[in-house]
Symmetry: C2
Subunit: 546 residues, 2 copies
């Protein structure tokens, strides 16, 4: 059953609920709709929050009322969000422009049920890949697989960029406290030689395993870095085939017996890069870093949230409600930027991950069918951990141009041995004192006859609480943001799984690369075919000076 | 001579140049003003770029024409930007609301000239502090100063948050390749226990020096972390007074002989946190990490840019032009968010630093005199290094909602020993191929009958080139952004040196902290005085579960 085409052909502005939402949003400029009044109602938190097992989502400080929510649920139904999500999870070709399924959820399916694409069950291959990862990680940990000089592996360098990097980086930071395999993890993402230089000055080549992550095995940056790593290993007298692992599509140049490697793990065309951390993309490095068992716990947390997103009715569905509020803020109230502020240092790479997830998925201006949007899509996402952010850009959040914030709090920290109290409270309690205060301060504001000390308030935020920073909780959070992103796209009617917008830059870079290569070959090559500005930059680069 | 009051009393909208700019900006919706036409002109780069010694600023891909620039220069003159900047550098009390000078530039003044505040020369104290830092760092490096067990220092932990942290973090990342003192640097910024736990699991307590950075020595997060560090040292049998250094105001609790420390260095009330990395705030940790000589080279780069900003006429003044373009983009063309994309991995913490610098300085809604602004101020800043950003959020940059970008390129990398070529180019050249392509792709766009593959173009960017990533170049870049931020404020008529907007959250947190402390004291304390939402969060925190 395909929902996509039939559901999104309709412009947002032609949906009755959308028209009512537009009208209703205008009421929110009225003084009585200021958050300071809305949140005073006794049942505010009960009505505008949700709990599901180990996660709590509070949208009581969002600029919504019951009517707004009820219209948003109408919109959800008009857009058949639940049906589209189920369709996606069932293996329908939701990624219309590329004629592919979008089955990241299958990579954490432990139900035992089959999932079919074109009548072929994808689960056996997924399960086989998981098993291969488990076995490989275990052999590295117990020293059965070593580098070419027999030294066991102590460093893992992940060579990959974008979706082959950001998710794994986020999870490895979040779970660093669980890394007990005596293996350090490094990320060689940028083609910048500084990234490579910095990493090789901090590893022992003999005990380093390099994991190349690239679906096509042709990504320019990743290939340049892989070639560099291979030449570095050879220079150190090592056999690259004993230090290299690939995560790539079956049959890609990285999965070619002519180029032997320690192991090769498969990526599938039905899982896009930015949704791939629960596949082998995250599975191989995270299993080496944390142990496969913790990676599987992370998957099970993600699966739990998938099931919640699939099964809960709209009114009880956390990522769906979060997506509705995101669109309300963006298109109805006019906030184009949103911050993610985790009050948890290990989640410091959540915002960069969601930045990619959301901005690459939803930075679109056409519908799934290729028609121009009538309402702009996409949100600019940024963020830093709290309380750091309070001492950085919160001045603007409180007194400058407003932007909605998603606060995240963790109930039990990963460390509990340091319970020294300052001013009568532990560090974790001090953190919470701030986590509790900021949404209130933003919502309430404060009158002051000195205008420099006046706080307008009425600044919207949500607060997400998670039980702890266990692998399961990190998995839930990951899946929450994936589902939220996809639901947003379903509302806008866009395709969250393609990214044609990155092609033009790549194409121009390819032409310039050829020019540079020509000059490297022939010193007298000039850049006469290039436009004047491009020529200036090329000449400057070759001259080595300004 | 005070310019501030007289110049900014006037609303922006009452300035003739502003009115003309508003009118002129409307022309930029016309098809012929698309960047693809503007940049085709033969003299485009010559007319819309500037070079000053080792830095190049290209604004040819900004949506400006000669008339726009000429009106912006009129605005600069109407606002007396140069005079205000000179006045600031001369020690006038530019920070009106707090009745203070703003003399971060004095901290890198090597001219030998005096600078007076209220007829007192501030230079002798600044020079003395620099000398103290040089001497202290040298004694640590040559082992004359050691920890309480006689072990030399191998780890430095900077305890500080916001402006006491972000600048030093940025510079230490940027210059990591120069760190040859066998000292690792860590940052304990967040009150989050994870930040502390993570650091202490990676240091040797006996060889660790803790630097507490706090002007007032009362910042809640910093004090909580300092107390925790002291109790940790005691637990390890170490004498905290031999492992602790403070950077604080003269006479603060951190500069009290009753609480002995290894050394205490002074901060001055005329240098605000976010402008303080060239003072002892950055000086102490960076001199330990890099050596004082490199810190001084960094200062001299910053001084060079200060002098440029002070002496160059508007039409040749890089940070001033950058500020004018920022306001043009923000208030005249309507872009409220801006990205900073350095094609240089060591500059990965530049965006978080400028995020604070800019958003805390300019996230205001009142003039220096406390009147409401007639034109909104402040820009939301975010960024990641390129090419990483291309594989993250550039989809939105190319095909979603546009935002201006500041690209930064480095001519000579810090590493030159890895010159392996992939597809005929080195990694550094591959990086440049991308640096050159992206601004062009954003400006030109591309037609396509398939709307999903259509690029609208006309998306503005600047490109800054710096000669290398030496300490001097990093200093220039730092000072460029400081001057740009201050010039922006002078245009808006706001005070870039205060931050009243962070007070409300602190005040509420203080009340909640007291509630938590009461409950820690008395288990039966309930939170009946708190509003219902706050009570829920407090109960949840104490219950430890959802």
């Amino acid at each position: 059953m395909k929902f996509s085409s039939s559901q999104t052909a309709q412009n947002l502005s032609s949906i009755p609920a959308w028209k009512s939402l537009k009208q209703h949003a205008e009421n929110f400029s009225r003084p009585e709709k200021h958050l300071k009044y809305l949140i005073k109602k006794n049942d505010r938190l009960d009505k505008f929050s949700l709990k599901h097992k180990h996660i709590f989502y509070d949208f009581s400080r969002q600029r919504v009322d019951e009517k707004a929510m009820s219209l948003l649920f109408e919109l959800a139904k008009a857009r058949k969000l639940k049906e589209q999500f189920i369709s996606m999870m069932n293996g329908e070709k939701t990624n219309i422009s590329e004629n592919r399924a979008a089955l990241h959820t299958a990579s954490r399916n432990f139900s035992g049920n089959s999932i079919f694409i074109d009548e072929k069950d994808v689960m056996p291959e997924i399960i086989k890949t998981r098993e291969n990862i488990r076995e490989f990680a275990s052999k590295v940990h117990n020293g059965k697989i070593t580098g070419s000089t027999g030294r066991s592996f102590k460093h893992v360098v992940v060579i990959g960029i974008g979706g082959s990097y950001l998710g794994t980086k986020f999870v490895s930071c979040a779970l660093e406290a669980f890394a007990d395999k005596n293996i350090e993890i490094h990320f060689l993402s940028n083609v910048d030689i500084h990234n490579f230089g910095n990493i090789v000055s901090g590893i022992e080549p003999e005990s380093t395993l390099w994991i190349v992550v690239s679906k096509s095995y042709t990504t320019a940056e990743t290939m340049a870095n892989t070639n560099l790593a291979i030449s570095f290993m050879k220079e150190k007298g090592l056999d690259p085939s004993k230090h290299l692992v690939t995560v790539t599509s079956k049959g890609s140049p990285g999965d070619d017996p002519a180029n032997p490697v320690l192991a090769s793990f498969h990526m599938f065309d039905f899982i896009g890069g930015r949704y791939s951390v629960t596949s082998a993309v995250g599975g191989v490095p995270l299993s080496l870093y944390l142990g496969y068992d913790k990676f599987e716990r992370f998957l099970k947390g993600a699966e739990e949230m998938d099931i919640h997103a699939k099964n809960s009715p709209c009114e009880k569905n956390m990522p769906l409600i979060a997506a509705l509020i995101s669109i309300w803020n963006n298109n109805l109230l006019g906030y184009q930027t949103q911050a993610i502020i985790p009050y948890a240092f290990p989640l410091q790479k959540l915002a960069p991950h969601v930045q990619q997830l959301s901005m690459e998925s939803n930075g679109k201006s056409v519908t799934q069918e290729g028609h121009s949007l009538d309402e702009p899509a996409g949100t600019i996402i940024f963020g830093e951990p709290g309380t750091n952010a309070q001492h950085s850009f919160f001045q603007l959040a409180h007194q400058g141009r407003p932007f909605p914030i998603e606060f995240i709090g963790v109930i039990k920290p990963q460390y509990n041995q340091y319970d020294y109290k300052s001013k009568g409270v532990t560090n974790h309690q001090e953190l919470w004192a701030n986590l509790i205060s900021q949404p209130t301060a933003l919502a309430l504001g404060k009158e002051d006859k000195n205008k420099a000390k006046y706080f307008p308030g009425n600044r919207p935020s949500s607060t997400i609480l998670i039980k702890d920073l266990s692998p399961e909780s990190v998995g839930r959070l990951l899946s929450f943001y994936e589902a939220k992103t996809v639901f947003e796209a379903f509302i806008w009617g866009t395709n969250p799984f393609d990214q044609f917008g990155v092609e033009l830059g790549k194409k121009l870079a390819s032409g310039i690369r050829n020019e540079i290569a020509s000059k490297n070959e022939q010193k007298d090559h000039s850049f006469e075919n290039m436009d004047k500005i491009t020529k200036f930059y090329l000449d400057t680069m070759f001259s080595g000076k300004l």
